[in-house]
Structure formats: C-alpha cells, structure tokens
C-alpha cells in the first residue's frame, strides 16, 4: 500500500518535469530565434547603410588613392552643376569619401534627409568652385566661368545660411569685379 501510494504520487511529478522541460526548450528555441533575427537585423543595418559594406574598398584606399580621388572630384567641380530634388547617385564632383561623409551627416535628421543631402552637395560644390576660383593655377577663362556659376549660386548660399551676408557681399563684389575686369 505504501509503495503503491508512492508510485501514484510519482506519476504527476514526472508529468510536471516533462512539461517544464518542454517549456524551457521552447523558451530556449524562441530566444535563439529572436537572437538570430535581432543579429540579422543589426547586420542588415550596417550592410545597408554603413560605409564598410557599401564601399568596402574605402578602407583599403591608400593615401595616393585618396589624393587622386579628391583631385578628380575637384576637377569635376569646375564644370559641375548643382543638384535638385532627391540625390540618389553620387555626383562626379563628390568623391566617394565625401559622399559617405555627407550621407552620414544627414542621418541625424531623417525628417528632411533628402533635402539636406542635396543642400550639402550643392554647398560642397560651391566651396570647391570657390577653391578653384581662388587657385592661381586656374586659367582666366575658367575663372570667369567659375565666377558666373558662383554668382548664380550665391542666393542659395545666403538663403541657406551657408555663408554669412557680409562674406557673401564681399564675394559678390569680387566676382563681379573679376567679370568686369576680364570682360
């Protein structure tokens, strides 16, 4: 009677252990599943938006590669045109490094990232044109073209507070003087 009674009480205990084990296994499975999906998501974000996957070659660029890329973009800026609307492709006058930097710079403002990226691209173009215009190596004809282009971009630069009004006035005066002098 005593033994029989012990057997009777053992049966439900085994059942409880079994159910507990199933729950633990299920929880572990779910945890692993969630963990994998979380890691996948993180990996996807890095791959999709970070520079390492999109531009894996950037880290391998030598100093000379970088220099050449920057110089090529600077040359392209002399004739480059401002962008409008959503910028989906890297303009030629924006180097790969600069493109990554600008895209990352607007990540803090998702609400108007497209407009900001376009503004930054145009701002970069303006300053590259300005550097070229100020360079003694630039030919007179190119300087004239650059002066005209920059004059046309000045309203954008002042309107966006990219350049202060005083500096804009001084620059406008210098650009006009150059055009008057040469023409």
């Amino acid at each position: 009677m005593v033994n029989s009674g012990q057997d009777n009480s053992r049966a439900p205990k085994i059942l409880i252990y079994a159910i507990t084990a199933v729950i633990i296994l299920a929880a572990a499975f779910l945890f692993l599943l969630t963990g994998i999906s979380f890691n996948s998501e993180r990996a996807g974000r890095v791959n999709g938006e970070g520079p390492s996957a999109e531009s894996p070659d950037l880290r391998k660029m030598t100093d000379r590669d970088i220099e050449e890329a920057q110089k090529a973009a600077a040359r392209a800026a002399i004739t480059g045109k401002p962008v409008a609307g959503r910028v989906t492709q890297r303009p030629e006058y924006v180097s790969e490094i600069e493109w990554q930097v600008l895209r990352n710079a607007v990540m803090n403002r998702p609400e108007d990232a497209d407009a900001q990226l376009a503004a930054l691209v145009n701002k970069l173009l303006f300053f590259k044109k300005k550097e070229a215009w100020e360079s003694p190596a630039t030919l007179p004809e190119q300087r004239r073209k650059l002066a005209r282009q920059m004059l046309s971009m000045l309203p954008f630069m002042t309107g966006g507070d990219h350049i202060n009004p005083g500096e804009a006035r001084r620059l406008e005066s210098s650009l006009n003087a150059e055009l008057t002098l040469v023409d």
Partner: protein
C-alpha cells in the same frame, strides 16, 4: 443590571466616532501646521500655539500698517513697547527673481541705537509658502545687507519692493532652502532720519530686533523659539558680527545657532586708509556721514567739512550704492575737510578716534560658531584686518572658521552664498561646527588689484563651461571641464579684455562612423576678448563684446575613413559675440552666461579636404553657450 448596562453601552457608542473624528481633525490641523498662504491667514496656528511648547510668546495686538507709501512714517502716537516690539506691519509685494513662492511683510519695530537710546527701524520679513516640518519651527535667517546707499529710496525694503535689490540672488537661495528670511533696513530709513551707516551696535541691535518683531506678525507663523542664524556681507558682515557679539546680552531669548560674516570691516583704523582716496572712497565718505548721524559729538561733521565737503555729503545722502561708488571713487577725504586735513589727522582727533574705536569687532566673544569669509582680491575691505578678527575670536574661545574665495569684494558676496547656506544648514540641523582656529594652512595673502586708480574687477582663471552646437552636423561639442576664462573688467574705462584657455580635447564627430577628432580652440591675440562693461546704478552688469578664436581640428582615429592626421582650421577667427545684461550677483554666482549664435568661416589647411570640412562646419547659426563660474574656495 444587565439590561441597564447594555443601555449605557449604546448610549456611549455615538460618542466614539465623534471623538475619533475630533482626533482626526486635530491630526490634520497639526499636520498642516502653521503655514503662510495667499489669504494671509495661518492654518491651524492657534491649535499649534496651544499644543506646541515651541510657541512661547503670545502675539500682541499690534495694528497692521496702512498699505501706502507712508509706511516709513512712524505713527504720530507711538504704541508703548520695548526693542523687538512691532510698531506696525503690512503685507508687502516683493519681487525676488529665482525665489520660490513666498509671502512678505514690511515691519516697523522698536530697536536701540548705538548709544542705548530707543529708535525705530523698518525692514522686511520673507516667509516661503512651502510648509515646514511639523516637528520643529521654521528656521529664520537674519540677513544683514551690504551697503545700499544713504538715500531713502535705497532702503532694502524699497529695493525689494521694486525687485531691484542687488542681493536678491542670496535671498532667493535662502528662501529656496525654505528658511524664513528677515531683512532689516538698518536704522535711519524712516522719514526725516539719516542712516547711521556703519554704526555697528545700532545695526546689530536692528538685526536682532527684527527677528523678534517677525515672530510677532501673526500670519507669518514664525516662532520666537525658532532657530536663528545670522548672515551678512560687507556692511552686513559688520552687522552680523556685531549682532553675534551683542546677542547674549541684548537678545538672550533668541535661539542663535550660527553667525556667517563676510567681507567684514572689523577694524576701522585699518579699513579707512584702505578706502581713502581709492576705489572704495565712497564707502568712507558714507561712513563719515553715518557715524556723524549716530555720534554727532564724536564726528563733528559741520565743524570739519568745507563747502565742497558739504556738497559731497548732500550728494551722498541722495545716492544709492553703485552711483555713489563711481561718483566719489578715488577721492581723498581731505578734499572735503577744512584745511585739507589728512585721514591720519582726522583719526587722531580724540572724539573721532573714540567713535572709530567703538566700531572695533573682536573684543567680545560670540556664543555660537562663526563662519568668516573674504575675497582674496578684495579691493575695498582689506583682507588682513579680517584675518586678525578670526584670530581675536579664536583667542576668545569662539568656534571660528575662515574661508577665502578667489574673488574681489563684489563677486565674493555671491561666490560664497552656497557655501554659507550649507554651513548654516548644518547649524540648523544641529551638527557640530568644525572651527579652523588651529588651521595649519598658510595665512591667506591679498591678491587684490591696486585699490587706487582704475577700478578693475579681475577674474583669474575662472571655470569656463562652454559648448558649441554644430548646425550642419546637429552635434553639440562640449569643451573640457578644465577650460578657464580670465578677464579684466575695467569699470572706470568701461572696457573689458579677456581670454579663454581651452585645453586640446577630443570630440566624437558623427560624420562617418563616430570619428574622433582632436579640437584646438585658441583665443586670437593677446586679448581675444574685448568689449564694453558697465555697472549701472541699479547694480546691473552689462557686458558687450567679442571673443575671437581659431578652431583647429584633426581626425585622429582609424574608425573613420578620413586619413589620420588631416588638419584643417578656420580661415579667419570665429567671432563669438559676448553679451550679458543681468544682476552683478551673476558674476559670482556662476550665472554669468553668454549665449548666442555665430558664423564659422571657411576651413583651410588641407587642400584635399578644405571644401568638405567647410561644408560640414561653416555657415551662420552656430549656437554657443559660455558660462563662467568662480573657482572653489579654500579654508584657513
């Protein structure tokens, strides 16, 4: 018998809830305690008075004064009374920026002048609306003001009503700790009276008596057995120390727990020469007038002054402190005296000598701990004579400590406030005060600018808490904690020159991955900051200038893809406009904040990346915030 008993039990049953309800209501009333409120009445005050042993004095039947500008006129028929009794009082409208909600009363009360004669003094009582603990009475700070000026419009109560009192910052902090604060105007601001400025005993009496008077305003809910601490600076430091010395004999019923006295003119024979013909000469002229008012025989003003002196006295009587400070700056007393007698000659006149000698502190012990403090660059009140005061108190067995602040006279008043209030809080909490009579620290030495010539307020390597918000990157760059700001504010020429020192620091810039850049911000030229500085008659400081700085950045981590070591810097200096308009107290209280927007010019230095960094950094609308706060004090 059994039935009868039952009936009795039922008879008493309804009484139980009534008793319980009564007890509950009593508990509520006790819990509410005696709080000031908008109606001016006190909730539960009578119950507290009945239940609490703390409320020892009964409230006399004193008239509330009429709510008009004639408050400073004593009634034609004065009620009988002794010092500390109220003559009249009225609710007052007082504006203190930064203070919690509080109620205010103007009070006119009896006191005693320096010669022992009864006098009439006015003042202000400030009580926070926030409840105090039910287990004790709200502590009271007897606040002794610094020089306000001899003109009646300069009376602290008038300045408080106008919201223009230059000591508002200190009062706000005291009220912020939920203490009641009582502020005597000092004797001489009633109609037709002349302030007895710098008459130590009279001021001490007036300060002690306003505490007693305040406890007699029924709706102020202040107990005559509340713990009381005394706090004052400059003239107020003198008042505080005198009140401390006088209290055991004059107001033994006050539960005094501590005295904090800063910038104390303790020995007039040393203070006067430090003022005469120097930056602070206005205070000496006002002292002569004030002591003459109290001791007409000791200071025979009419016999001593020449015509120019008489005119100066009249002007002095019509001015508040800051106007007088500049009006009489660097003018020797001899200019106003017949025969152009020097200060030494004047002080040698026996009656003058006796009068000045009667103001000397440190001859009587103070029965509670004393916190003395002083600015090492004090240009008005000499440091050394105050160090000697500490030694005198120590010799008399007083538990005294001395704290020195790296500031001049005006700034120190506000630099010290948080430290003073912490110390007072410890006294209210019953903690044992640690004196510094046995301090082994070196004796502080004055670092004051020359007290004659231009009046220059120097800030030497004060803490600079600075941040710039980069507009394009939407990033806040905070400069290192060890950044400092130094400036000379020449109040005579109204010019400020200064510099900032920002150690090279690293800042994360989120342009690629979080990229570390090294930033160097350096002022341009010998005086990167230049501008105008003025102190107006209401005690407001005005600073308008520019800080010119170069900004240099270098990428220093390999996390980003920009080449390590790329240096760029601003093509021209960044012009940070420096603008401040606010109370002079901001200079010492750590609230001297310059905020604004500036334009970052183009970046240059690396032909390959100039355009990129210019794109990211330059442009207008870059916000900045610079806050200047004083260095920590030292103990002696």
């Amino acid at each position: 018998m059994k039935r009868y008993s039952h009936r009795n039990r039922f008879m008493y049953l309804p009484i139980a809830p009534v008793v319980l309800a009564a007890l509950f209501m009593a508990s509520i009333m006790i819990f509410l305690g005696c709080d000031v409120n908008d109606s001016g009445s006190s909730s539960g005050s009578s119950l507290l008075a009945a239940l609490s042993n703390d409320q020892e004095t009964s409230t006399p039947d004193v008239p509330a004064g009429r709510d008009d500008t004639g408050f400073y006129t004593p009634p034609s028929s004065l009620p009988a009374g002794r010092h500390g009794d109220i003559i009249k009082y009225q609710e007052a409208q007082v504006t203190i920026a930064g203070a919690p909600d509080f109620k205010a009363w103007n009070v006119m009360y009896y006191s005693t002048d320096a010669l022992g004669a009864p006098n009439i003094v006015t003042g202000t009582v400030l009580v926070p609306k926030k409840s105090w603990s039910i287990f004790s009475s709200r502590p009271i700070i007897a606040y002794a003001v610094g020089t306000h000026g001899l003109c009646h419009a300069c009376a602290p109560s008038a300045q408080l009503a106008a919201g223009t009192d230059y000591e508002n910052e200190n009062l706000a902090q005291a009220l912020g700790r939920n203490y009641a604060v009582v502020v005597t105007d000092n004797p001489g601001y009633t109609i037709d009276a002349v302030p007895t400025y710098m008459s130590g005993k009279a001021q001490g009496h007036a300060l002690l008596d306003i505490v007693t008077a305040a406890s007699k305003i029924p709706s102020a809910c202040l107990s005559a057995r509340a713990k009381v601490a005394i706090w004052g600076y400059s003239q107020g430091g003198q008042t505080a120390a005198w009140a401390g010395e006088l209290q055991p004999g004059y107001a033994p019923g006050l539960r005094l727990v501590g005295v904090a006295a800063g910038g104390v003119p303790a020995d007039f024979f040393e203070v006067a020469p430090y003022l005469d013909g120097k930056n602070g000469s206005a205070f000496l002229l006002e002292t002569v007038i004030g002591l003459w008012s109290q001791y007409p025989e000791g200071i025979p003003l009419n016999d001593l002054v020449n015509a120019e002196g008489q005119a100066a006295v009249n002007r002095g009587l019509s001015m508040c402190v800051f106007e007088a400070l500049f009006e009489f700056m660097n003018t020797p007393l001899s200019k106003y005296v017949k025969g152009n007698q020097t200060l030494d000659q004047l002080m040698a006149i026996p009656s003058v000598y006796e009068t000045l000698d009667a103001q000397t502190l440190g001859r009587n012990p103070i029965g509670v701990p004393v916190y003395l403090y002083h600015g090492t660059s004090d240009e008005f009140i000499e440091l050394e004579q105050c160090l000697k005061l500490k030694e005198k108190y120590c010799a008399l067995g007083v538990t005294a400590s001395f704290t020195v602040f790296a500031g001049e006279h005006i700034t120190t008043q506000f630099q010290a406030s948080p430290y003073v209030l912490d110390w007072l809080e410890d006294r209210f909490d019953g903690k044992t005060a640690a004196g510094t009579c046995g301090s082994a620290n070196p004796r502080p030495a004055s670092t004051a600018n020359a007290p004659e010539g231009d009046f220059i307020v120097t800030l030497n390597k004060w803490s600079l808490n600075a941040a710039v918000h980069l507009k394009t990157l939407m990033q806040r760059v905070t400069m290192p904690d060890t950044s400092t700001f130094s400036a000379d504010c020449n109040m005579t020429t109204k010019k400020i020159t200064g510099n900032m020192s920002v150690p090279d620091f690293k800042a994360p810039i989120n342009v690629i991955l979080p990229m570390q850049v090294k930033m160097i911000i350096t002022g341009v030229g010998a005086n990167p900051m230049t501008g105008d500085v003025t102190l107006d008659n209401a005690g407001n400081l005005h600073v308008h200038g520019h800080m010119m700085a170069d900004i240099k950045i270098q990428s220093i981590t390999a996390v980003g893809i920009l080449p390590i070591g790329t240096w760029v810097h601003t093509k021209e200096p960044v012009d940070f406009p420096i603008d401040f308009d606010g109370p002079i107290s901001s200079l010492g209280s750590g609230k001297l904040t310059f905020t604004g927007t500036t334009t970052f010019p183009s970046m240059t230095g690396n032909v390959l990346f100039n355009a990129l960094f210019t794109t990211l950094m330059s442009g207008s609308g870059q916000k900045f915030e610079f806050t200047v706060s004083p260095p920590a004090p030292a103990q002696w």
